[in-house]
Homo-oligomer: 466 residues x 2
């Protein structure tokens, strides 16, 4: 029977020492593939140690594949030639930085970040200090799963004031980002439903649906927004749209299409419309069109909005407004989830809104973006680029479309831009199958581009044309 000395055990425990001895013998070929090991009891007796020690050593050998056991027969040496230690995968730092907003671009026309000079740091600090001093008990009391009531009340009032929506706080569900809320919605509405997103559209939404293994298709758009007959033809249950300001085309859905869409939804109990109102606060001119939610009397619209655009992309607070009958379904199906936003930030934001700071902030930012847009448009007008550029959809949200006269393919042009330190995306990238007509159209999302770099960036765009 195998026998080992425990003299040179060092700092190892008994079982680790025994494990190492046997493993070594297997690696050396002293114990050969198929050979039967002594039973736990007899080896314990032989080595004068406890059965449990043998058991632990054998268990580790089994876990690592050196030994296998056959029930009621015993333990056998494995064929270690077949033991392939997994190759150590390389963790690339590039991978880990994915989706990080760090950037060395001269101008990044794709980022949703806000620059730090515009975040209301001093008010935020003041509110934080006051809460940490005077509201300690509230901060540590678990919130309802939909979020703390003061924040939901503040949002309800904001929606009334800014969007003329009549919503009770109970209908509002707070979550750590819109992406998280999509996941909740799938759980609420069902994995068996047929979802759809707009084509063209924001890729991330369909990625989330795909990642949840649910059926998600693309519905074409015409100049008024999502195509109703395509919805019918594809037998869609739930459509995800951004009627106030479509990304990336900038289309604003007219009222007639809104009603048609509500009419489509009313035809089946399965049908719902997810209305993403992500940047409605930044409409720069013209009358705002009422939200679908506010003209929906059949309870077919789930309204979503976020503070990542208006406040900061790194403060992860979004919300959805559920139709009343879905509120009850939500609480009966998903009551067990904790709210994903920290109480601390919920209370800060609640006071930020209810004490009027949010409204002031939005007004300030709207003016800032307005003048930034004008600066870009003015810079283009007064540059040689003007002769090669057509601008459209410049009145809503924080981006517009720039059509360029060039013979370069979009891919080539974007590569040239990348080399010049400019990050840009093309309209064609947002289509499943880009039609020829959208070639040479680029998206100028100007929220994160520094004003002092605009002139240089426009020059670079011009130079890249030839």
């Amino acid at each position: 029977m195998i026998t080992y000395s425990f003299a040179d055990i060092g700092s190892d425990s008994l079982y680790i020492h025994l494990y190492k001895c046997i493993k070594n013998d297997i690696l050396q070929g002293i114990l050969q593939a198929g050979e039967k090991l002594p039973s736990k009891r007899s080896l314990a007796k032989n080595l004068n140690i406890s059965v449990i020690t043998i058991e632990n050593a054998y268990a580790q050998l089994i876990a690592e594949g050196y030994v296998y056991s056959i029930p009621k027969k015993g333990f056998f040496v494995a064929d270690i030639k077949s033991l392939h230690k997994k190759e150590e995968p390389i963790l690339s730092t590039e991978n880990v930085q994915l989706s990080s907003g760090k950037s060395n671009y001269l101008a990044d026309f794709t980022s949703n970040q806000t620059s730090s000079e515009h975040f209301p740091f001093s008010i935020w600090a003041k509110l934080t200090r006051e809460l940490l001093t005077h509201n300690q008990s509230e901060l540590l009391t678990n919130p309802p799963c939909g979020g703390i009531l003061p924040l939901r009340e503040a949002i309800a009032k904001h929606l009334k004031d800014f969007r003329n929506m009549t919503v009770s706080p109970e209908q509002i569900i707070i979550g750590a980002g819109t992406e998280y809320l999509y996941g909740l919605l799938i759980q609420l509405l069902g994995f068996d439903k047929h979802y759809a997103v707009e084509d063209p559209g924001y890729n991330k939404i369909s990625q989330i649906y795909e990642s949840h293994c649910i059926l998600c298709d693309f519905v074409s758009m015409d100049s008024s927004g999502v195509n109703i007959s395509d919805l019918e033809k594809q037998n869609i249950d739930i459509i995800h749209i951004s009627p106030s300001h479509h990304f990336p085309t900038g289309t604003v859905m007219p009222i007639s299409r809104r009603y048609e869409l509500l009419g489509w939804a009313a035809k089946s109990d399965m049908r719902y419309i997810i209305e993403d109102d992500y940047d409605s606060e930044y409409r720069l001119s013209g009358q705002p069109i009422p939200t679908l939610q506010s003209i929906d009397i059949q309870e077919k619209v789930i309204y979503m909005n976020t503070f990542t655009k208006t406040l900061a992309s790194t403060v992860r607070i979004s919300y959805m407004v559920l139709p009343k009958h879905l509120v009850n379904t939500f609480y009966s199906k998903l009551y067990f989830y904790s709210c994903t936003v920290s109480n601390f930030e919920q209370y800060i934001l609640a006071r930020f809104i209810s004490e009027g700071y949010f409204e002031k902030h939005i007004n300030r930012m709207r003016n800032y973006y307005h003048s930034k847009r004008d600066l870009i448009l003015h810079t283009i007008e007064n540059s040689p680029l003007a002769a090669y550029a057509t601008i459209s959809e410049e009145n809503a949200g924080l981006h517009f479309l720039l059509k360029l006269k060039t013979n370069l393919s979009d891919k080539e042009f974007l590569q040239r831009m990348e080399h010049s330190g400019i990050k840009l995306s093309s309209l064609s990238q947002y289509y499943q199958v880009p039609p020829a007509a959208v070639e040479h159209i680029f998206i100028i999302n100007y929220s994160f581009v520094a004003e002092e770099n605009i002139e240089k960036a426009i020059q670079m765009i011009y130079r890249a044309l030839f």
Copy 2:
């Protein structure tokens, strides 16, 4: 043809006024079910208003079900008897408060909340103030999807110091609560896998799996933890366990079972173990047993932990440690998700850990819980309850088991407790089919119970016995 006056239009828009007039005629029976409405064009001409106004009015009538359209035939009055306006569901405030931690109990032995006197408010305020002043740009820069690097580095170091785990920051994924991370894990490992949780166990985990419409079964436990042959028999792919301190039984999985479990996982590429180490920081006596993660050389263990127990249940920060090969899968499949925890709190926590405050906090809390546990045990010993009580599993985590001699059913006993202002749960509630042997065993989670109420609570428990 129908004709309406626009004299008394008031503040309504043209189309709303027209919509109201037609709707009124339908409700009055002036326009009857099946009647054809004039075409948009002819009505526009008749009323001398634009076609688009008619279109909008018709669209709203369609959306509300008063009118239906037949393609190429026109618009018809609907049968309004069949129009059932949805009954307004009642939004119960009780619903909305669900999962809220507000409580009027004399003693709540079920809550995971921490009381505000133990949260390090002044340090938190200091760190927040410093960050809001000196790190504005970092705070607004989008983090990598796995979380900011300084926090992941701080956690990696903490895991080395406290759990002797060697983990690179890249393997750590930060998320807004463990519940959210489970959702991510399902997307990472697959909706088609066969998941399992421990029976008995923490209900919420299986609720999350069910809510994602995936196959989730229950695996029985013996005195060493989850039963391996039951795993094999049920053909489980992914098992969710808490080996350091099982909730609610308090079982600590011995090393031999840990290796057996790793051996089980090694047998198939589909198999993984999710190790939830949720309250290992609060082991009150005895040697800690190494985590499964630290003895796993086959990359089969996904380690999870949270700051909700150690810091506050309302600060939603948890993390998981992925085996290296899964890190790459994570970044290639789920890179598009934004991190769900606000940058602000990620940076605060990173400094809280790396500057040594977290270690001090844990030590202080461990002492506090230690003395609180002793106070409860001492109070029981010196009360008439002692003759009717047996205590077990009191050395780990923040709960122990109290077995009572009583003829009351668990349900009856819990009701009596509820009437006395004491919230308690029974061991039997955590079983799918509770065996008779677990009757009369109650879970004393003492983390949230105020010390001054302990004596009174023990009296109440005693009185409820008869």
